[in-house]
């Protein structure tokens, strides 16, 4: 990072306050320093403590000045209309995540089907299912029960996610839920207060790579189906829970390769203060040793897949397996830029990650966000794979329609153009960097398009 000119420090302390000069090295410019100082002051004023305000203010500024992210210093981050508690050891929610979460919530409210069944993998603070819940409850068109489930491997994350539900109920931003009989209890359910909100939201501590993960969630989707099934009969429905068909699988998994993590692609504040577990997929060996024995009977090929794909993409390979078995109606996966988006699309299009050693050798570094134009022409890489994947190889084929969303998916009048990946056309929506790979099952997609036309 370039050194800041001394005059800037002098100005910060003269024009704003001496404390602003303390923040300058982490904030990098006067405006941000002034903003953060104001936010810290507002935070001190709005919270109570036996410690005098002046002292608290000063010590928070000092803490921020050491480089600790403001969200950890103040302990929260606004996310949509919600207030998400943040703590060291759990990733801070990002504005990009907020944007596409609101976007998919909007899509869900327009699709009529309730009850809704939503699964968030790698949930962290729980921000995604919490905001989805908030948006869905605010929509008059969502009538039926909503069932949400957040999964994370980290006990800290799961604890914080549960706290976040209770916290937002306390703030009056979410209603207390009527707990289903078999969901783990969270929040302070008070049915008499809220006659209507019928939802369940639970957070559980699980490793999504564990073979038992799938069986625990989808007892009926045990057989891995490399041959896409006809998906004719929906899962049996029970009376008090939404039907087992998954309406949305959403995930913001760790997606930074360890080399991008140590390079300048990843900001220093992220590297030094946020948990590596949340950002970098674990080295393959340690990730799998624990399960290799167990998984040999079903996903025997998995390990090979994880080893051969790009190191940043390990979680997407797993998500592809899960999608193959569960066939959710919609899938939203956050990605780190155009290069990664294209690799993920390819992985789904050819229904194979392992057979595609080539995509780790493409000169698209993970998450640099550039190289969009160049990769557009890269249609028809030498895969020559005869079998269509979940997505088929041509537009209008396969079981799923696929899209890439940029940072602002709803921007510019829902701008849309096409990119060609392995001879398959992919819709690209919005403005900014590539941020989400979106799959939508053809039956739902046709429904959505019909509504638009």
């Amino acid at each position: 990072m370039p050194r800041l000119p001394p005059s800037l420090f002098w100005r910060a302390s003269k024009e704003i306050s001496p404390l602003a000069a303390r923040l300058l090295p982490v904030c990098r410019d006067l405006q941000s320093a002034a903003n953060e100082l104001r936010w810290i002051r507002e935070h001190v004023k709005s919270t109570q403590s036996p410690v005098p305000d002046g002292l608290r203010f000063w010590s928070l500024v000092e803490k921020r000045a050491t480089g600790v992210p403001l969200q950890y210093v103040l302990g929260n981050q606004p996310f949509g209309d919600l207030d998400i508690l943040c703590r060291r050891g759990v990733l801070i929610p990002r504005p990009e995540t907020e944007a596409y979460t609101l976007h998919i919530a909007n899509i869900l409210t327009k699709s009529s089907s309730t009850p809704l069944n939503i699964l968030d993998l790698c949930t962290g603070t729980g921000c995604i299912p919490l905001l989805l819940l908030h948006s869905l409850l605010a929509s008059p068109s969502v009538a039926g029960p909503i069932s949400l489930h957040g999964v994370d491997i980290s006990p800290h994350a799961v604890r914080l996610a549960r706290e976040n539900l209770a916290h937002n109920i306390r703030l009056g931003l979410l209603p207390a839920s009527i707990q289903g009989p078999n969901s783990s209890s969270l929040g302070s359910g008070n049915p008499s207060q809220n006659p209507n909100p019928y939802y369940t939201l639970k957070f559980t501590e699980q490793d999504i790579f564990s073979p038992s993960f799938l069986s625990s969630h989808f007892p009926s989707s045990q057989q891995p189906s490399t041959q896409p099934s006809t998906q004719s009969n929906p899962q049996p429905t029970s009376k008090d829970m939404p039907k087992n068909d998954l309406d949305l699988l959403i995930s913001n998994p760790p997606y930074i390769s360890s080399s991008a993590f140590t390079s300048r692609t990843t900001a220093r504040a992220v590297r030094q203060h946020e948990p590596r577990l949340a950002l970098v997929p674990d080295p393959i060996s340690s990730l799998l040793t624990a399960y290799s024995r167990e998984s040999s009977h079903s996903g025997g090929s998995s390990q090979k897949v994880y080893e051969s794909c790009h190191p940043a993409d390990v979680f997407y390979a797993r998500l592809a397996e899960i999608v193959g078995m569960v066939r959710p109606k919609r899938v939203v996966m956050e990605v780190g830029g155009w290069g990664q988006a294209m690799r993920v699309v390819r992985g789904f299009v050819v229904d194979g990650w392992g057979s595609h050693n080539s995509f780790s050798t493409h000169n698209m570094s993970s998450g640099d966000g550039s190289g969009y134009e160049s990769s557009e022409s890269k249609s028809g890489s030498g895969s020559g794979s005869g079998s269509d994947g979940l997505l088929g190889s041509g537009r209008g084929q396969g079981e799923y329609e696929i899209e890439v969303w940029r940072d602002e998916p709803a921007g510019e009048n829902d701008a849309k153009h096409w990119a060609v990946v392995d001879q398959r056309e992919v819709a690209v929506r919005g403005r900014g960097l590539a941020r989400v790979v979106y799959l939508v099952r053809r039956d739902c997609w046709e429904e959505d398009e019909g509504r638009k036309g």
């Binding site: 002034a34 504005p95 692609t265 992220v270 941020r435």
Partner: protein, 426 residues
């Protein structure tokens, strides 16, 4: 004048009262207080309409008609007052012709008072006829932007910002800082410790604030010796103050508030707005953790752009940005319409109008003086002005009076222009 809590109605009434006093003085020193025939004609027409509506409503209540009646009842009753005063004066003039010397003396004594009454009722009638500014009942945004040039203007922009902020505090008006951005390109602070301001937006949240502050719009000029000036030379710089109608956040009232209807001044087609998040380059997502989520909106047809990074909340910034954009566009549409109206009446009236370039007020530090170029008000005690004290209040009131009179003149001109058109057609 008023203590908190603020009631805008009474404030406007008392402002009008000041206006009336001056108007009367002017009228009564001049000879006959005659209303222009065009205005009188209009008042008569409206009164006829009013009486018809009243009669009609007795049989059959129609809310639309009732609303219209309410709007013009002011005119009808003002006309009745005016005619009463005129009749009284006629009677008095008869008495002046009387053979009885004592009678004549008595009549003479009453003449001044009756003249004053006529002047007042004729002014009231003009005010009643003047259409209320469409944004008059709304809260407002004060936007303060330094003019081009040196740091002096930026420091003074900060002074004006504090002036209005403390003025609101003194008056008990609820006000909120929407935006307050320091400029990034200069050195030291001003002689009073001001910071160089790049742009500030203050929202005065009271209903009717637009009417109270609309006279503040325009270029404010400052003349003083900057702290850094060694030779003691006086510098002149300028700061623009724009007054925009603000869209009330909660309790939506019936006036322009239907912003989602295309006919509203506040309506914006979302498809015409480009929305960007301003993020400092890089890969975004998990790779960076920026605290700010600034939002920038650009209205493509007009090129009007706003950028907001007041709050940590992206949602909140977006809301603020949309509100500000709506206000700016509504103001622009209004100005365009006013400009068209002005051109229409230019043939009749060559009065000065506030346009974006005109200097409206000068703050002269050496002479401790503040002069408003429109109302001609000239006050001393600049420190009190800049503290938002009563001295500023006086200047603002003088402008209110000026605005009301200008509106009346505009109305007269409009009516005369219309009459000319009418005549030609015949």
């Amino acid at each position: 004048m008023l203590a908190a809590p603020w009631v805008c109605r009474s404030c406007m009434v008392s402002l009008r009262r000041v206006g009336r006093a001056q108007f009367i003085r002017r009228f009564s020193t001049e000879s006959a207080p005659n209303l222009p025939p065009a205005l009188l004609e209009r008042a008569r027409k409206l009164t006829v309409e009013h009486d018809q509506l009243t009669a009609g409503l007795e049989n059959d209540f129609d809310p639309k008609k009732a609303k219209r009646m309410g709007e013009i009842s002011r005119v009808a009753s003002a006309l009745k007052e005016f005619e009463k005063a005129k009749a009284a004066l006629g009677e008095l003039h008869g008495l002046l012709e009387s053979d009885d010397a004592e009678m004549r003396e008595l009549a003479k004594d009453d003449l001044a008072a009756t003249n004053a009454q006529l002047a007042e009722s004729s002014h009231n009638l003009s005010v009643a006829l003047t259409p209320k500014h469409p944004f008059a009942d709304m809260p407002c945004l004060l936007e303060i932007v330094p003019g081009p040039g040196g740091t002096e203007g930026r420091y003074f922009a900060d002074s004006l910002f504090h002036m209005y902020k403390t003025y609101c505090a003194n008056k008990g008006y609820r006000a909120r800082v929407v935006k307050y951005e320091a400029s990034d390109s200069d050195g030291s602070t001003g002689s009073e410790g001001e910071i160089p301001l790049q742009e500030a937006v203050l929202e005065v949240q009271e209903q009717g604030a637009y009417d109270v502050f609309r006279g503040e719009a325009g270029m404010h000029r400052v003349q003083r010796v900057p702290a850094t000036e060694k030779s003691g030379r006086t510098h002149t710089s300028a700061v623009a103050v724009w007054v925009l109608p603000s869209f009330p956040e909660s309790d939506v009232t019936d006036f322009e508030a239907d912003w989602d209807k295309p006919e509203s001044d506040f309506y914006i087609d979302p498809g015409e707005v480009k929305s960007e998040k301003m993020r400092a380059g890089g890969a975004g997502g998990q790779h960076v953790n920026k605290t700010e989520s600034a939002v920038r909106l650009t209205h493509i047809p007009t090129g009007i752009a706003v950028s907001i990074q007041e709050s940590r909340s992206q949602q909140r910034n977006r809301e603020i940005a949309w509100r500000l954009l709506r206000s700016r566009i509504a103001q622009k549409r209004r100005e365009e319409r006013e400009e068209a109206a002005r051109q229409l009446r230019n043939s009749v009236l060559a009065s000065s109008q506030i346009t974006r370039g005109d200097k409206i007020r000068t703050y002269q530090f050496q002479q401790d003086r503040c002069t408003d170029h429109r109302s001609g008000a000239n006050v001393h005690n600049l420190p009190d002005v800049l503290r938002g004290g009563e001295t500023l209040g006086k200047v603002m009131e003088s402008v209110q009076t000026w605005l009301v009179n200008k509106d009346i003149q505009g109305l007269i001109a409009d009516e005369e222009a219309a009459a000319v058109v009418e005549k030609k057609r015949k």
